[in-house]
Structure formats: structure tokens, C-alpha cells
Symmetry: C2
């Protein structure tokens, strides 16, 4: 078990050594460790060495000049200057919140960025301002559109955070595929077949082969197949791609640069870096915040106390599992796989830092 | 085959006879017949008699005073005054478009409305203004949250319309369930079991019983079951419910009034009528519209020409099937089931109009 404070201090030191300004290093470390605290281990410190490698090959700029390229009362287009998405995301959300304070809502499209960690972190920044936070990001292509065998979309997550009154906030944060890729890797490690409905083979047929993506196959959109609504998951992934990248001037579809630094960046880019889209809506731009929050409490309580299905003890509200894991890990610490610890030690050695 | 002009004239006459003002009758008829033209038969003239019955029992106000209750530069809260959603929806979208012209984006939450027909109609109103149109609406509860046996959410559709340059626009319009209820009714008529992954029984277990919802069962969220991401479909349906109704002051969750006039309205309402949420984003509030539209063309062409899966001839762009059906039906006419024709004749008789 590792304390989240210690992990955060370590990450911050790594980012500082990379040349990140103090405030950026603090934010980036907070985004990473918050993922681990919330139980989204796939987006936490396990990725630290990946960010370092992107910086080493010059794809990440440790000291970016994040700037507004164009704006209106309720919108802004941001150039992330190849910064860490972990820094660009929160900066963009700050602008969205400022706009919402002035104009009721604020919407920011971001180009020229990199992987921004868990979407939920950015959406949740709106909560303390009595605003609804919304964000989405595109990612490199692993998902085939319905009826296609080509990988053209990322797992393109969406997050929406809604403040409540006495209840904890509603926080949805999900990829637009049946499962995240990390779950498929777990089956690979166990040497077991995956359930039907997660992957397709090189011909576009459903498969249980956990290695299908290594053999010309692809992840499928949420829904799984046409009969179960995969065209709707395809719509969602496409909307995320368009809002994040076509609207901002980032790369979209198969042109999105991959996270692993050893993979080549697609040729003939159609934009700059990867793209995000973030929004903040002031509750009282619609109705009094107290009224809204009292109704959110009613909504949450009604859903939470609904009758569970056979074999289940309770019905969850989006955000419940993550909030509970956070509570636990804050006091008991964060469990890390041995391989992740080794990876972090490698980063420490590289920079002459103690882990 | 029925010509869309004739069907529209007939619907308009019905709405006029109900007491709708000229312009409202025109709009409502256009929304209904556009659904039939686009092949969304479940939301077209088949529902005309249903709207009439809601008017007869006083749940629909034929001459509503649709008014702005509260607003900011980029937002408005609208009271639909129990008007036809078919009229309230386009009125709200007009306000969103006006706001977007001024502030870059416009966002409208609507309470005290009724069923607004196909979501896509309202989203597409933004297209001719070089704006992205977004809308969602809640609906009466047929869907059980993941792990629950209670029906707490509607099929809560989302529509996003994005303008392109030389290509037709991108128009996503989908319920947040694997299938619409109309598809399940088709299996009931054929006396066949439905595929697993559409419905659950009264215990919350997957079932092929097409009549499950008559026997304590429920529709499931997009994803089907937890293993295939139904918690993500649950998130989507919940977001639609919250944006449409908690933000506006309409009824949400199990309190949403049903479309059929013979069903009782839930007791102890938590708001007024049903709710919608609509938004318009001016493209050039982010980047020049020409640049954006050229990139949308690239996006659309890359996806459309991607390699099809085995057994499929081509990969579709959201909106393609509806646009193609519209083209066909505009010239060849709209096919109506005998039962629908009888239903329309019934409405005609009731009002002393010729069908």
C-alpha cells in the first residue's frame, strides 16, 4: 500500500525534473493520483513513465504556453502547445468556469494537447462552483465503427459531473466502448477468452480471442453489435471525436497520435495533437441552485433505494463506486502492482530521485 | 403510399381544429411528417391520435403561452405551458440559436412540455445557421437502471446534428437503450422471442420474452448488461433525465407522465410536465466555419470509405439511412400500415375532416 500523499509528491518531483513549472507539476500529479484514489488504476501512476517517454521524444512540452486562440462570451478555442493533457485539461476547465460565471455557460475546445488522464477529474472541477461539468476527449484509434473492420475511433470517454445537495455529486465517467482496454489486458494475462460482445476479429465478426486487436481485429462500440445498438455507441464515439478534434483543429479518427511513445505518429496529420472538449453550466443560469440541488437529492435517493435485481444488494448512482474507493484508499493507501512499482523505480532512477 | 404534402396538410388541419394557432399547426405537422419521411415511423403520424387524446383530457394545451422564465447571455429556462412538444421543441431551439448568435452558444432547458416527436428534427434546425444542434428529452419510465428491477428512466434519446461542407450533415439521433420499444412490439406481433440483451424479467434477469414489460420486466440501458457496459447506458439515460428535467423543473425518473392518455399521471409530481434540453453552438465561435466544414468532409469521407465488415457492403455515417429514406419517400410517398390509416380516419371522423 502506498500513501496518496507520497505518490503525489513523487509524481510532482518527476514533473518538476522534466521542467514543468511548480503549479503545472502540482496539478499533473494531482490528476494522476486522483485516478488511483478513485480506483481507475489504468489512468493513474501506471502511466507516469509513458508521459516521461513522450517528453523524452519531444512530443510533450513540459513548459507549454497554453493560449486562447479565439473566443466569444461563452466559448474559447485553446492551443495546448503540446503540453501534458494533465495540465491543459484543468486550465481549459478554468476558462470554461470563468466563461460560465459571465455568460451562464462556458465551452472550450482544445487542440494540440496530449492524454489528459481521467475525464472525471476535469468535469468535477465545476462542482464547487455549483456548475455542471462536462468533458470528453478523443484518443488513438482502437474501435471499429459498426459494419467496419478498420480502427477509426478511440475509446473516447465522456464525463458529466452534477452537484447535489446533501447527497454526494453525480459523476458519470465512461468510455464509449463496452469495456476499457485495460480489462481486455487482464484476460490476456490470465490466458482466458473474453466475453462475446467486446471485440471483433479481422473480418468484423464477434470473437472471444483476447488478442484480437493484435491480429487485425478491433474493439467494438458500446452496444457490441448492430442488433444491440452498437451504432449508438458508434454515434457517441464519433460525437466525442468531432467535438474534441474537428471543432478544435486537433487530429481526429485514425490520425490521432498514440499514447505509447514507441509507436509512430500517423502520417499526414489533419490537425495538431489530440483534442478535448470541456464545458461548465452554471446551475442558476437555469433555476435557483438550492432548488436544483434539493431535486438532485430526490433523484439520487429515489434511484438509490430502488429495488435491486436478483443477486444484487443495491442500485448504484454514477460516481458511487469511485467515491467509495477514494474514501478507502485515502485512509488505507493505494495498492500498486509489483510491475507498476518497478516502473516507478525506473523513472526514479532515470531522474536521480528517490521513490 | 401517401404523399408527404397530403399527410402534412391533414395533420395541420387536425391541429388547427384542436385550436392550435396557424404557425404552431404548421410546425407540429412538419415535425410529425418529417419523422415518417426519415423512416422513424414510430414517431410520425402514427402518434397523431395520441396527441389528440392528450388534448381531449386536458393534458395538452393547444394554444400555449411559451415563455422564458429565466435567462442569461447563453441560457434560458422555458415554460412550455403544457403545449405540444412538437411546437415547444422548435420554439426552444429558436431561442438557443438566437443566444448562440449573440454569445457563441445557446442552451435551453424546458419544463411543462409534452412528447416532442423525433429529437433529430430539433437538432437539425441549427444546421442552416452553421451551428451544431444538440437535444435530448426525457420520457416516461420503461428502463431499469443497471442492477435494478424498477423502471425509472425513459428511452431518453439524444440527437446531435453537425454541419458538413459538400457532404450531407452528420445527424445522430438515438435512444439510450439497445432498441426502441417499437422494435419489441414488432416481435410481439410476430409472436417471436426477442434477442437476449434487450429486456429483463421481473427479477432483473435477461429474457427473450417479448412481453416481459407486461409482466414486471423492463427495457435495459444501452449495453444490455453490466458485463457489456449497461452502466454506461444507465449513465447516459440519467444524464438526459437530469439535463431535461432536474435542470428545468419538469418531472423526472418514475414521475414522468406517460404518453398514452388512458394511463394515469404519476402521483405527487416533482415538477411540471416532461422536460427537454436543447443547445446550439456556433461553429465560428471556435474556428472558421469553412475550415471546420472542410474537416467534417474529410472525417465523413474517411469513415464512409473504410473497409466494410464481412457481409456488409458499406460503412454508414450517422444520418445516412434517414437521409436516404427521406429522398425515396419524398418522391415515392410514405407507406402506412392499414392500422395507422384506420387510426387517421378515426381522427378525421372525430373532427369532421376528410382524410
Amino acid at each position: 500500500m502506498f500513501s496518496h500523499e507520497k505518490l503525489k509528491r513523487f509524481c510532482k518531483e518527476v514533473f518538476l525534473t522534466m521542467g514543468c513549472p511548480q503549479e503545472h507539476a502540482e496539478t499533473a500529479a494531482d490528476v494522476l493520483v486522483t485516478a488511483d484514489l478513485r480506483g481507475v488504476d489504468s489512468h493513474g501512476v501506471v502511466r507516469l513513465s509513458g508521459y516521461v517517454r513522450l517528453w523524452e521524444i519531444g512530443r510533450v512540452n513540459a513548459n507549454p504556453n497554453i493560449k486562447v486562440v479565439h473566443e466569444t462570451a461563452s466559448t474559447a478555442l485553446i492551443d495546448g502547445d503540446r503540453g501534458l493533457g494533465l495540465v491543459v485539461g484543468p486550465e481549459a476547465m478554468k476558462i470554461a468556469i470563468d466563461k460560465a460565471n459571465q455568460a451562464g455557460t462556458g465551452w472550450v475546445a482544445v487542440k494540440n494537447s496530449n492524454h489528459y488522464g481521467i475525464a472525471g477529474y476535469h468535469a468535477m472541477l465545476a462542482l464547487e462552483h455549483d456548475m455542471i461539468g462536462i468533458t470528453m476527449t478523443n484518443a488513438s484509434a482502437h474501435v471499429a465503427p459498426t459494419f467496419s473492420v478498420e480502427r477509426l475511433l478511440g475509446t473516447n470517454p465522456i464525463s458529466v459531473a452534477v452537484p447535489a445537495g446533501k447527497e454526494p455529486p453525480f459523476v458519470a465517467d465512461f468510455a464509449t466502448t463496452p469495456v476499457a482496454y485495460g480489462k481486455i489486458e487482464m484476460y490476456q494475462r490470465k490466458g482466458e477468452p473474453v466475453p462475446l460482445g467486446w471485440l471483433q476479429d479481422e473480418k468484423g465478426c464477434p470473437t472471444t480471442n483476447a488478442y484480437a486487436t493484435h491480429e487485425g481485429g478491433a474493439l467494438v462500440p458500446l452496444g457490441g453489435d448492430r442488433e444491440h445498438g452498437s451504432h449508438k455507441g458508434y454515434c457517441l464515439g464519433a460525437i466525442v471525436d468531432i467535438f474534441s478534434a474537428v471543432l478544435s483543429g486537433a487530429n481526429y479518427g485514425p490520425w490521432v497520435p498514440p499514447f505509447p511513445a514507441y509507436l509512430p505518429v500517423p502520417e499526414n496529420p489533419v490537425g495538431q495533437g489530440i483534442g478535448h472538449f470541456l464545458g461548465a453550466m452554471r446551475i442558476d443560469a437555469f433555476r435557483p441552485a438550492d432548488e436544483f440541488k434539493a431535486n438532485m437529492d430526490t433523484w439520487i435517493r429515489r434511484f438509490r433505494r430502488s429495488k435491486p435485481a436478483q443477486g444484487h444488494k443495491r442500485v448504484l448512482i454514477p460516481g458511487d463506486p469511485e467515491a467509495e474507493t477514494m474514501e478507502k484508499r485515502k485512509s488505507r493507501g493505494i495498492p500498486l502492482l509489483e510491475s507498476v512499482v518497478e516502473d516507478l523505480k525506473g523513472v526514479a532512477d532515470k531522474f536521480g530521485i528517490k521513490f
